[in-house]
Each structure stands twice: as C-alpha cells, then as structure tokens.
C-alpha cells in the first residue's frame, strides 16, 4: 500500500517535472528570438557576428539613434497611429450602433442583418483585391489613408458586431424601461443609460481589432506608394532595404517597431489574450 503511494507520487512528480521542462524549453524558444533582437540593437556589426548571444553594453544607443534620426521611423509610426486610431474609433462607433439596434429592438429583418454581418466573418477580402483596387482608384483614394481606414472598418465590423450583440443582449431591461416611463427618448436612453454599461465589450472589440490593423502589411502594400503615408510594417521593409548591411540598425528598427505592442501586451496580457481569442472561443 505504502509502496504504491510512493510510486504514484514519484510518477506524478516525474510527469510534472517533464511538463515543467517542456514548458520552460518552449518559453525559451518563444522569448530567445525577441531577447536576441533587443540585445543586437545595442551591438555593432562585429559584436553581432562574433558573439550573437552575449549581453550588450546598453549604453551603446548609436544604432537606435540612427533609426530615430536618419530614417522616417517616426513618420511611419505616426501614420500607423492615425490609421489604426481612426479605424478603431469608426469600428467601435458603427459596430455599437448596429449591435445595439439588433440586440435592443425587435424589428423585421433584425435576424437577417445579424446574419449578414456574421457572413462577413468568413470572407477573405484579400482575394477580392483586384476589384477593390479598381474601386478605390475610381474613388480617388489610392495613396490616401482613407482607403486603409475604410477597408479596415469593413473587415473589422463583423467580429465587432458579433461580440457586441451578444454582450448588449445580456444587459437587463429594467433601467431602459424605467427611463422610457420617464419619457426619455431612444437616443438619450442609448447614450446615457446603455452605452456606459457596454464599455467592457468595447474594450474587448478594440483589442481584437487593434492587433491585425496595427500589424497589417497587405493593404498598404497595394494602396500606399507615397512614402509620407506609409505605415510602420510597410515602412520597415523600405528601410530594411536601405540599411541592409548594418545589422545593428536593422535590429534597432525591428526592436523599436516591436516594442510598443510588446509593452502594451505585457501590461494588458489578459485583455489581449481574451480579445484575440474571443472570436474562436464560443
């Protein structure tokens, strides 16, 4: 009896130890590339080639300053902020409007409208890039941030409406009914009573959209040629070509581009993980 307890505790310990080793090994593989990237940003070419894994002298910010001063890094970053910010704002506003109407009012066709948005979840817009290109050109929006913003809004709306409708449906009716009794009109009920309650869902929807929009490379590749309008991922490929032999600068550029989203992720990891897997977990 005693022996079997011992052997089973040993087995659990052995098994858990194995799992722990696997997890640690995996985390090393996940983090090492990022650590090497950040370390290399503080190294010269010779240091990168001779001792790629050593801890650098963090006061050597020459490469980082070169990226900051000699490239259009800040311009690209600004463009990404404008495009992402405007897209998210529009997605949240329009998504909330549609979800609110579908969830709070009974009207003919509301089910159909929800279905329409859900169908959009599965459409790969990349494959329609030829007609989209011609359409954007006809609108005169080639080389305009609006082209990106409009496309991101259209691709971001389905998941947003999906998440927000579910959330708004779950809100209780009492407050709304009481306000209606007091004679408040529908717009006022929505704005001052219901919307404050919807904020948590808005945060989830915003995070879910912010990562793919901030990181997108495909649509700027097609629609933006003017250097002054390039977004960060797109600009990054441009300047990797210009500084092709200076690895310290290349790693600095990658580090500076990755850092904002990494910091945001570490600060809000729970919200990021919930937001980005929200569409896949029912």
């Amino acid at each position: 009896m005693r022996k079997s307890v011992e052997s089973s505790t040993f087995r659990t310990f052995g098994w858990d130890g194995l799992i722990q080793i696997l997890l640690i090994g995996n985390s090393i593989v996940m983090l090492a590339p990022i650590v090497i990237m950040v370390f290399s940003a503080f190294k010269t070419n010779a240091q990168i080639f001779q001792s790629p894994f050593s801890i650098p002298d963090f006061t050597n910010v020459k490469s980082i300053l070169r990226v900051w001063n000699e490239t259009d890094f800040l311009l690209y970053m600004g463009n990404s902020l404008i495009v992402t910010g405007a897209s998210i704002a529009l997605i949240i506003i329009l998504g909330t409007m549609a979800a609110y109407a579908i969830a709070r009012y009974e009207f003919r066709g509301s089910g159909l409208i929800l279905l329409f948005f859900l169908a959009g979840l599965t459409l790969p817009l990349k494959l329609a890039i030829i007609p989209l290109f011609i359409q954007i050109r006809d609108f005169g929006l080639i080389d305009s941030r609006l082209s990106l913003i409009f496309i991101y809004v259209a691709t971001g709306l389905p998941t947003t409406v999906f998440i927000m409708t579910g959330f708004i449906r779950s809100l209780p009716n009492e407050l709304e009914d009481a306000a209606r009794m007091d004679g408040a009109n529908e717009a006022r009920i929505m704005w001052s009573i219901m919307l404050p309650l919807v904020r948590p869902a808005m945060v989830i929807a915003a995070i879910q959209n912010v990562v793919p929009i901030w990181n997108d490379f495909f649509f700027p590749l097609i629609f933006i040629q003017n250097n002054n309008l390039k977004t960060l991922p797109q600009g990054l490929t441009t300047f990797m070509g210009e500084f092709g032999t200076d690895w310290g600068v290349l790693f600095s550029g990658l580090t500076l581009s990755a850092l904002p989203i990494i910091i945001l992720y570490i600060a809000l990891s729970r919200q990021f993980i919930n937001g980005m897997t929200a569409g896949a977990i029912k």
Binding site: W15, D16, I19, L22, L23, N26, M30, L31, I34, I36, I48, P52, F53, M97, A98, Y100, A101, Y105, F107, F117, G120, T122, L123, P124, L125, L127, A128, I130, P131, L132, F150, I151, V153, A154, T155, L157, P158, A187, V211, W214, N215, F217, I222, Q234, L236, T237, L250, L254, S257, A258, I261, I262, Y265, I266, F272, I273, T277, A280, I281, K282
Partner: protein, 306 residues
Amino acid sequence: MISSQLTGRRLWIAALVVPPIAFMCLFLVYPILSAFAYAFYEWHGLARGDFVWFDNFHRVLFEFPFSERTINAFKHNIFVFFALMVLQNGLGFILAYCLWRELWGARFHRIAVFLPVVLSTVIVGLLWKLFYHPLFGAVNATLRAVGLGSLAQPWLGQDSTALTAIVVANAWHMVGFPTLVFLAGMQRIPSEILDAVRMETESEWVKMSKIVWPLVAPSATVVFTLLFVGAFNWFELPFIMGGVDGSPHGATDVLGLYFYRTAFGSMSASAENFGPGSALAVLIFLFIAVVSSVITIRLRKREIQL
C-alpha cells in the same frame, strides 16, 4: 400619435443600422461579388474588355506557363497546411495540456507563448530572415555553439529547406493561438467529469485520448478550420522571407504569391494581368469555401454537447 412614434422608431433604427451596413456592402460584399464577375472578362491593363466565358480559368489551370506555376504553388500550400498542422496545432495541443496542469509558473509560460502572436508578420519575417543568414544568423550560430556546426546551412537559400524554414518561422509566430484556444476548451471541462475519470483510471493517456480530446472538439474545429483558411491564403510571411517570386527557384511559391504576381506584376513577370489573376482568386476562394465547409461540418459531427 402612435403612428408618428412608430415611424420615428423606424427612422431611429434605420439611422443605427444603415451606416454600418453601407460600409460592409461598399468595401467587403461588393468587391467580393465583383471578383467573381471579373474572372469572366478579358482585361487590357486596368480596362475591362469582352466577356470571354471560362477562358481565364482555362489559361490558369491548363495552359503553359500558368498551369505549371499554379500546380507548383498549390502543392506548396498543401505542404504548408500539413506541416503547420503538426508544428502549430499539434504542438499547441501539447502545450495547452502542459499549461492546463497549472504548475508553478504557468501564468508566465502562458504570457510567453502568446507574445509572438501580437507581433506583426513583417517584424517576424524580417527577424527570422536575419536569423537564417548563412554566415551571421543566430540559427547557424546556435548550431555551432552546441557542436552541430556541420548542420549549419543556408536555410533560405536552397530549395530543399527554404519552405520548411518559413513554416518554422510561422509556427513560432502563431503557436500561441491554438495553444490558448485549446487551453480555454480544456478549462471548460467540468471538474466532476475529471474527478470521475480519476476514480476509474490512473492513466494520463486514457484521460487525454478518451475524455479530454473528444471534449475539446469544438476548439479543434475552430483551430483546424482557421489554419486551413490561413494556409491557403498564406501571403505575407513568404512575401517577406522568400520574395514575391518565391525564391529560390519558386521553392517558396504559394498560391497567394502567385495570385499577387499575376494580378499586379513583378520584376520577372510582366505587368498586371487582371483576367487570369481574377480567375485564380475565384478558384482559391471556391477551394477554401468548399473544403473548409466540409471540414467544419465533419468536425462538428464529432463534437459532444455537454
């Protein structure tokens, strides 16, 4: 009085739903519908010519040199799908199981495995391109450091390893996604079921294969379907790491790249060619739509409602 209230309400609802629907129609639904129509026309640059029935489809599928490249790219997509199925979803399932045990440090490991997922594909591609550099890259440096210097090779420069090297970079980037979707599925298994299993058997293998795996079937459905769609839409990572021509020698060419080259032209190919490009897009779209529906329906059947 009542009727004016009703029209007011109707107007209010319309004001809420019409703008979002308009955006969707204009920039999502209409372009996709037109993509189907475009494939049946002859194109002269950006100008539409005659209606040519299935000519574009015929060229893309059966005429040299289009057909050869289509088939070459398609084979690569199939390889990418199966390789990622193992490296990304398979590993993701194992990692999810490890995290699910909630050993000491699990929170840290969970944050670590998802960290690459938030990075841009461009950053991941450019970073791994530097790592794969034959002389100065971190991959070969690691091999030399652990005494496997003889395995060091130009990973992206030779036909035999280039596509696999990009697949590995993709798996590093995205493995956190299936991991956390599977983990969420496992965490939803009611503890009574797990307690009951513990009474019956001590075997971890029986528990995993007979209980956990069937119960996370909904997560598997989502993750498999998304991977399938992603593998046949694959564009950004091979574009960054292998270039628009799928170098070396088309070894990393996939349908997404080939479609882009055909549609918008490249250094090596001619100018834009919207007819065959549209036909390719329609074929890829139909292939993805049909196969992913079949996958979803078949996988749904084995899901168990708790």
